[in-house]
Symmetry: D2
Subunit: 357 residues, 4 copies
């Protein structure tokens, strides 16, 4: 039986490569999964650009599904060979944050994000899942690996954004940015009953995809300040909620400005790239601090139970994120896949990586 | 019967004076109240300093109680001579914001704040209450004018802050600033079951008052960064919620930094004085935009129903804000009272102004 | 100008007829509407059967739209000739219940239901709308009278049921009963993101309609206890929520039994017909009183703001209840329409009644 | 080292006795605690009366604190000798119910209640705690064993009731029954800011205790229907919430009748004694199924995080349940203590049982 495997690893700032490693082993509460399919995430690219301090050689990736390879003796819900998935966020389920329902912040700020950031990632032939009875989930036969992968990261994140927006049934919202997470926020805003979904997209292909994913109106920021464009549609008060899905200071400000005085601004974008300058909240649209606006910074919670509900949504045709799978690769070609994600070339959104077994 | 009255009016930037005016008259849905007692608010001072554009001659004030003098023919709940109070916020009860429960933002941003900002204020021998069946409330015999006045502004605002903080029973919070609103937030945080209430106060007399109002610990910012002081007490993760009750950019940042990754920051402070620079949200303590932190900008809702509940709290001894009444004046001395508020002299917190009838 | 009009009136238990009446006039805060289209509701039939004590001659109906005929001088948002609708529930917007957001219970139990129960109904050539600035809403050009009528009663009620069910995204629910309100609950459960919607319908045509409206599975209670049938699908724990849309004691019990131990039971059905026996909660499925189950009795809230959101949902194609319009009549034929509703003949669900002007 | 211990065991319907048993041992995720202090609960008495099917010889009890005796090798948060407590509810932290925050219903109906019901209880010299990193909590030096014990059951249950009642600040509520849980609901209703707390108590000593615990008014049901008595105080609409803390069908009905049409009924009482007849909901006060009333059946959630907050409340003087400790025993006298609880003799509320080491 093989004891080593291939993995896509961080090899220093802006360098990655496939390396050989030992197959991980499972502690008593853990599971090791043999990977069948993975996706690559912009967060992998952020990580490789040096945003988080991680050791050289650390395996990348947090979007992988597969079959159970090894099971810790305290794990009760799984058997070898079971087809399984896991959320990109893998909380412990026990700390104060988890017990209060904020499992994304397991043990403290962003602590639920463990793959790559705190331990070996999942872009490898095998990967390790901690606290498996909390985190691991069976993939129903009716779902493809590809569908399950969407549930593990971008869809659950987009949905978390739409949930946090708390738009009442028939209410209005704007989603700024139509990358993979923004598109999933669009899908999810429709799923949860928003009455008007306006999106802001800069590229023509994303604009088309945005419409396909449920946007009623797609705005092009080159045609004028999106805030003005939105208010031309909904009136001067603005919308009930705005979701920031870009990760820039200016789009964050746009979200504060475009919402009405009972509105919610949800931040999904990652604001760590290139600067640690603060986010800025313009005071006039913030009512000099006395509007009833709410700003939420959101990372999706982890755990099996949420994954099960996402699987049900996928299986019963409520949402279909698969049009975002723009490219497909074998794992032997994963470096090229990574490079395309890094360069954002050929309109790539999500590349699907399959493993030959 | 007299047709004119005295009122404390705005006479140009940083100028006020008692002027003679006609007694207001009530439209069909309104009531005119003959004032028996008023208080002066720092917001009056902000207004006189030129923050809002209001016409010269506009009556100041929004904290007054009295007896019903004239009643519009559509008003059903009141009779002449009834002892009544009204919240500083007087929403219409009908617009979309009011119907969604955000009456402070009646008809749009901060629109529930009408006295002085949109119409004649209440620091006068008579004042006009719009939408009386929504806004006016009977004062029970068991309550003094002074108690009722607290319910009309600072107490309801402090309580709105504590409610928005959503601290779970036994949770922890910090209140930065112990002016009148900050002190009422302290009272209210205790009222709602916080397990540890830490306040930050710069003056010794406010620190003493803060303890009296329920603070478990009062921090002096001159003894080091309050964030560090708080974390020395509760641990490195910080507190469940922080309430900004100063109105400065630095204390707002303190609140973002001092909260844990599931924490809530409530802004009660007024950020319009002297600058329209944006509020700043430091990105590291905001989890690069992915912490589960929530920031709420809060203005208390108006309406009779809430006032009734505040009256019950006062009557049944749940809260006692009256130690904040540091000074007492007759209305003939109201200019001096205003000047003391303006200069913050003699440790003044709330001056009580009584009318001789 | 005409001063009298035709109206469908209650003429004693189980008797109705078209009578001649004076056209109503508007008080200062009210509006009188000239009716263009109405629908008849099973509640009209309940009323005529003697459930509520109403005077003979009282006009029936609470589902009508039309154009503004007369406006009170305190009403600000409308002009003569405006095309308008109003919810079946017409709260005052000012009482404690309204101020707390429970406008269906305006001034006390069920008090928001005023048409027919407390004042003249709306199945007439003209009808009176109280507190028009709170209740009346403009109908957008893009909406038909028929669409607007659905928003005024069955759709808003079904949606209130789905909202109260608080099913998490991707969660499961059962809706027992697929009459007009049950069908709208089905539409609404899909709208709000349920992952699995199971309905229980006794008639074949309703079962087909239920599928059309979004049910994933439609159960026939003649094929066995619906609780067993549901548990065969979702497992022994049951579903996240159940909505009672029949109005019988046994279906209420079914809802308690079919929900899991964190589940919500929503009652939409009317339990006043033929008996005042109590509803019964079986103790074993209620965890001997210690399950975490929640039971909610729901009547839709009224008000313009909610209607606006419903209109947005209809206009933007989120929901389409119009397949329920099974029959169409002129107002001169309204007695026949009423009789068909009363007899539930010819598979009638909602009859549309148009007025010749 | 001793390998056996004494335990108070169920010896058949209505029979208990101290028996000798092996000291339990800890699995990898568990801890064994050497008991220092226990309390006895009415639930123990219910259990012995034959309500749950448990094997003869099963150790009773679920309110015990002590020091860590043995630690499983996967447990990270504790060391031998640590002073610890645990909630009466000991959920797994991993199942769907736990992940959704309903840990009292761990793995299904009432499944979080494990001591005695599913495994050996805690009225023994040693007891076993499963999923220790989720459930076990350090007792701060500042807290007595006695205080910690209150947090483990009656206080957390009473608080869960007050939380579920969702009384707005200054709102009104009634608590029917002033046994240990009812008294803790009274304490907790005050803690969370209710404006008027009315209790119903049948015994004079409980009435006195109820006042001490914060009741504004204590009603004697022998002086007339409590519903009438309450409405004499608050008006005909009734109160915002009612908590059932007796466990009888008639008091449950009282709670439905005494609440207003936006009110919440919380059931804390155990309805399994002597009958499995259904609970009954009178339809008129339930608005024929269309009031906005909510009925919640509540069992307190388990877990360390909640215990920590309860400890903070006790330590900082927010609540003091210790006046309920009416009797004290050594463990060698535990059979007598049990008998007194069983007979409710000498006004016993909570007996404290200490172990001689």
């Amino acid at each position: 039986m093989a004891t080593d495997m291939s993995a896509l690893a961080f090899l220093g700032t802006n360098k990655v490569g496939v390396v050989n490693k030992e197959i991980p082993s499972a502690g008593p509460c853990d599971v090791v999964v043999r990977t069948t399919t993975s996706m690559i995430c912009p967060t992998d690219v952020h990580t490789v650009s040096g945003v988080f301090a991680i050791p050289e050689g650390r395996t990348l990736g947090h979007e992988s599904v597969g079959v159970v390879h090894e099971i810790g003796d305290q794990v009760t819900g799984f058997r070898e060979g079971d087809r399984v998935a896991v959320c990109a966020i893998t909380p412990c389920g026990k700390c104060d944050y988890c017990q209060r329902g904020h499992s994304a912040q397991c043990n403290g700020m962003l602590g639920g994000y463990k793959f790559t950031a705190q331990k070996e990632g999942a872009l490898a032939e095998y990967f390790h899942v901690s606290d498996a009875d909390f985190n691991l989930v069976h993939v129903p036969d009716a779902l493809s690996d590809e569908q399950a992968l969407y549930a593990s990261d971008v869809l659950t994140t987009g949905l978390a954004g739409a949930e946090a927006a708390q738009v009442p049934p028939g209410g209005t919202l704007v989603i700024v940015g139509q990358g993979a997470v923004g598109l999933c926020a669009t899908l999810s805003a429709r799923l949860l009953g928003a009455g008007l979904v306006i999106t802001v997209a800069t590229k023509a292909d994303r604009a088309r995809m945005s419409e396909k994913f449920g946007a009623d109106v797609v705005l092009d920021p080159r045609h004028g300040d999106p805030v003005d464009q939105v208010k031309d549609i909904v009136g001067r008060d603005g919308v009930d909620a705005a979701i920031e899905a870009v990760g820039s200071r200016s789009t964050f400000e746009t979200c504060v400005r475009v919402t009405n005085a009972m509105g919610t601004i949800v931040n999904l974008g990652y604001h760590g790239e290139g600067t640690t300058a603060p986010l800025t909240v313009p005071v006039i649209p913030f009512g000099l601090g006395m509007s009833d606006k709410t700003i939420r910074a959101v990372l999706c919670p982890g755990g099996r139970e949420r994954m099960l509900r996402l699987f049900r949504l996928l299986r019963n045709g409520r949402v279909d994120p698969t049009p975002m799978t723009t490219h497909r690769f074998g794992f032997d070609d994963v470096e090229r896949a990574y490079k395309m994600m890094s360069n954002k070339s050929d309109g790539i959104i999500k590349p699907l990586v399959t493993y030959a077994w």
